[in-house]
Symmetry: C2
Subunit: 450 residues, 2 copies
C-alpha cells in the first residue's frame, strides 16, 4: 500500500519526462549556456489582477533539488538515460539566479512573475515543478483578495482543506488565502507549519451524535466557554439560535463567541438571528456563515444588509472555482545573451531578460511597463528583485504576516474599476520600444529564413 | 524557508481544527460508541456517473495515522487541549472498519462510496483527510473516463502535472487518470511510485535553444532514434512536419515515433500533416496533439475525421475544469446502533449502515438500490465490500492495471445515454422502503419534539 507523498528527496522526479530527456540531449551536445526563462500568465476572464504567492516554496525547491540514488535507479530502469548523464544528475544542483516579483504584489498578464537565469539544463529541469508550485498559490491568493475586497472588514477564514485537490493544495490554499487577506484557516497543519491562526466551530455530526441539540451545545460550551461558535442549522436555524442562547444563560455565560449558519436563506436567517441575539443581550456574539460562499455571495449578502461578521470560505476558494487554472507559461526568452522568441499562433512570447516598472499617480496605480532588464524607466518602481544568486537565496524573506500586510496595502493603490469583482478590466502592461523593435526584427529574420 | 510537505508523521494534523475540538468534547463526555459515517456525493451537472478512485491512499492514511510528540506539542501550544486528551491522542490509532466500493467501479450520486464504522472520536478525526483524499481522484478518474469514451481507442496521456493544484494533486491526477483509461503520464515520480508508464516529447524551448528547428530535431533524434516525437509547431507547423521528415531521412530512420502539434487549427493541421507523412513513407508515425484538450475537443476532432493517434491531456483533466469540485459529504448516519439523520434544508442525509446493490439486465446496468446493510436484494450485486477490519486492511488490493481494466469493463455495461458526454443523465439510485420508512418516522419524531 502506498500513498505517494512528495518530499525533499523525491521532488526532483516530480517533473515531466521530457524535461529530463531534453536535458540529456543538451548534456550530450554541450548546449548549456546561460538561459533566461520567464514565468508569466496570459489574460483570463473574471480576473482584473492577480496576487503573487508561492515564491518561498519555489526557493525551497531550488535550494534543495537533488537526485538520490533511488531516483537515479528509477531513471536508469527506464532505459532512456545513459550513465554519463545519470552521473551528471547525481551531482545536480540548481546554481542559477532568480528574479521575482514579491509575494503579495499585484500581477498583471504577460509580465514576468519569476525570471530564471541559469545554465540551460538546470533551467529546463526545474520547469514543471516551478509552474506547479506557483500557479495554484496565485489562483488562491487572488480569489482570497477578491473576497477580502468585498468583505469590508468582516472576517474571512479558509474552510477549504477537505475539498482542496489533495494534501499539498490544502496547505497552499491556507497559506495563499492568508496572503490574500484571510484571518486564518481551519487547517491545523497549516497553522503549525506556517504559523497561521487556526479557527473552528462544530459539525452537524456533533449535534447528531448527541441526538439533542441543546445537550450538544451544552457539552461544547462547557469545554470551551470562551470559544464556542454554536452551529445552529442542523434542524431549524431559528430554534437553534434560541437553544444556543438558552445554553449560554444556563451556563451563566455573559457572552459567547457566536453562531454559525451553514444552509438556508442566509440573508433572512442572519437578520432573524441577529435580532434574537441582541434581544437576549448577546450583542457581542458574532454571526458566521458558511456553505458555498464565494466573493459574489459575500458582496450580495453585505449589499443587502446581512448582519454577518465572518465567513467560512471553502471549496470555491481553494479550487478557485470560477477560474480553476491560469493560462500560465514558462518560456525561453534569451539564450547565450541572444533574444529568443516563439511564433506559434496566439502564443507569442517576449524576448530578453526583463524588468517590470510600475508607475503610480498620486499614490494610485497608473501602469506597468515591461522592458529589457537594463533599460531605465524614470519614475517607475522596479518589481523584479534578485531573490537567488548562484543557487542561494540572498534576500531575507518576509514573514507571512508582512506579505499579507503588503498585499492589503497594494490593493489600496489599485483604481476602483480593478476592484469591481463583477467586471473584468482587461489590462495588459505596455512593452518597451526596445523589446517591440526586437520582436519585429526577429519576425523579419524568421520570415526571411522561412 | 519552508515548503510544507505533508508526510506520514504530520498527516494527522492535516485536518480541520473542529475535528479535534469536537473529539476532545466527546472524549470528556465519554461519548465514543460506534458511529457509522457515509462518504457520498450529491448530483452535479455535466456528470452522468463517476469513477471511484483514491481508496488505496485512504487505507494507507487510516493504517498509519498517529500523532507525534511534535504534533502534540503544537496542539498543546494552542491552549485548546487538556493533557488528558493529548495523552489519548498520543496513543491514537484508527481501529475501525471500512466498507467501500472498489476503485474503478462506477458511482452514482447519494450512494455511500466509503462507509466508516468506528468509535465516534476516530470516525470524526479522520473526516477532513478522508474527503481530501477521495474527492480529487474521483473527479480526475471520471474526467479521464469521459475522455476515454470519446477517444475511441486513440491513446491518452496525462500531461497535467504543471497545472495540477500542488504536488499531491499531480500525483493523484496521474494515478486517477490511469484508472480512467489513460495509457500513462508525463509525471516521472508517478511512474516510479505507481508503476505507471511514462511518456514525453519535447518542448518549444528545446527548439528555440537550438535556434534552428532542424538542428534541434536532429539532436533529439540522434539520442532517441526509436523514441522521438517531433514538436512541429514552434514556427510553422507544416514546415515543421517537413523538417521532421527531412531529419528522419538524413539520419536514415525507416520510421520514427511521431509528431506533436500544440497549437493552431488541429483539424486542418493534422490532416495536412498525415498527408505529408504518408506521402513520405512515414505511415507509422503517430500524430499527437496537445494544448487545451478535453473530452469535448477530442470528440469534435474525431467526429470531424481528424487523423489523431494520441492526446496529451493536461490542465482541464487534472483540475477537472468543468466540474472542479464535487458536492460531496461525510455524514453521521448511525450512532450506537440507532439511525441518525440531519434535516437542514436541501441537505437531507439517509440514515443507517447501508449496502448498495447494482442490478443488470442482459449485462447492461439497470439500477442501483441503496438499502440497510442487512437487507437482501435478490439478483443485485453488492458494491460495498469490507476493506478494513479493526484498523487493518483485510482485502488484497488490486494492481493499478487491474483497476483500470475493471473500470474499462464497467463502462461497457453502461447504457449509451450515460456515455454521451454532451448530455447529463440525472440518475439517482433508489432507496429501499425500509430506509424510506425510517426517514419518515425520524421526521415525525423530530417534528413532535420540535
Amino acid at each position: 500500500m502506498v500513498f505517494g507523498f512528495v518530499n525533499k528527496d523525491n521532488m526532483a522526479l516530480l517533473t515531466d519526462l521530457y524535461e529530463l530527456t531534453m536535458a540529456q540531449v543538451y548534456f550530450k551536445e554541450g548546449l548549456n549556456k546561460t538561459a533566461i526563462f520567464d514565468f508569466y500568465t496570459r489574460p483570463v476572464s473574471k480576473r482584473s489582477f492577480f496576487i503573487n504567492a508561492g515564491l518561498e516554496q519555489l526557493l525551497y525547491y531550488l535550494e534543495n533539488i537533488h537526485f538520490t540514488d533511488e531516483s537515479l535507479n528509477y531513471l536508469r530502469s527506464t532505459g532512456l538515460f545513459e550513465e554519463e548523464f545519470l552521473n551528471y544528475l547525481k551531482d545536480f544542483r540548481f546554481t542559477g539566479n532568480i528574479y521575482a516579483i514579491d509575494e503579495g504584489d499585484i500581477l498583471f498578464p504577460n509580465e514576468p512573475i519569476v525570471q530564471v537565469e541559469a545554465p540551460l539544463i538546470e533551467a529546463q529541469i526545474i520547469e514543471t515543478f516551478l509552474i506547479n508550485t506557483l500557479q495554484h498559490p496565485i489562483l488562491v491568493a487572488t480569489k482570497a483578495m477578491r473576497c477580502f475586497i468585498v468583505a469590508k472588514g468582516t472576517v474571512l477564514v479558509d474552510f477549504g482543506l477537505r475539498r482542496a485537490h489533495g494534501t499539498d493544495a490544502g496547505m497552499k490554499a491556507a497559506r495563499s488565502s492568508f496572503i490574500g487577506g484571510f484571518a486564518g484557516t481551519s487547517n491545523v497543519l497549516a497553522g503549525k507549519v506556517y504559523g497561521i491562526p487556526i479557527f473552528g466551530t462544530m459539525a452537524h455530526s456533533f449535534i447528531l451524535a448527541h441526538k439533542d441539540e441543546e445537550k450538544a451545545f451544552e457539552a461544547f460550551a462547557k469545554q470551551y466557554p470562551e470559544n464556542t461558535i454554536f452551529l445552529v442549522d442542523t434542524f431549524d436555524t431559528v430554534e437553534g439560535v434560541k437553544k444556543a442562547i438558552k445554553v449560554a444563560k444556563k451556563l451563566g455565560l455573559k457572552r459567547f463567541k457566536g453562531i454559525r449558519i451553514d444552509s438556508g436563506n442566509l440573508l433572512e436567517l442572519t437578520k432573524e438571528a441577529r435580532k434574537i441575539l441582541d434581544e437576549n443581550g448577546f450583542k457581542e456574539a458574532k454571526i458566521i456563515v458558511s456553505g458555498g460562499i464565494n466573493e459574489y455571495k459575500i458582496k450580495e449578502l453585505l449589499d443587502n444588509g446581512a448582519p454577518i461578521d465572518g465567513w467560512g470560505v471553502g471549496t470555491e476558494l481553494v479550487v478557485s472555482a470560477d477560474v480553476p487554472y491560469l493560462d500560465c507559461a514558462y518560456k525561453l526568452v534569451e539564450y547565450d545573451k541572444e533574444p529568443v522568441m516563439k511564433f506559434s499562433k496566439g502564443k507569442v512570447t517576449l524576448p530578453f531578460k526583463k524588468q517590470v516598472y510600475r508607475f503610480y499617480e498620486n499614490g494610485i496605480f497608473k501602469k506597468d511597463i515591461v522592458c529589457k532588464y537594463d533599460e531605465q524607466m524614470e519614475g517607475g518602481k522596479p518589481l523584479l528583485k534578485k531573490y537567488m544568486e548562484n543557487g542561494k537565496t540572498i534576500k531575507k524573506l518576509p514573514s507571512l504576516k508582512e506579505i499579507q500586510e503588503k498585499a492589503i496595502e497594494n490593493i489600496k493603490s489599485l483604481p476602483e474599476e480593478f476592484k469591481d469583482i463583477t467586471k473584468t478590466v482587461h489590462y495588459i502592461p505596455e512593452v518597451s520600444e526596445v523589446i517591440q523593435k526586437t520582436v519585429e526584427e526577429l519576425k523579419k529574420e524568421y520570415l526571411k529564413k522561412g
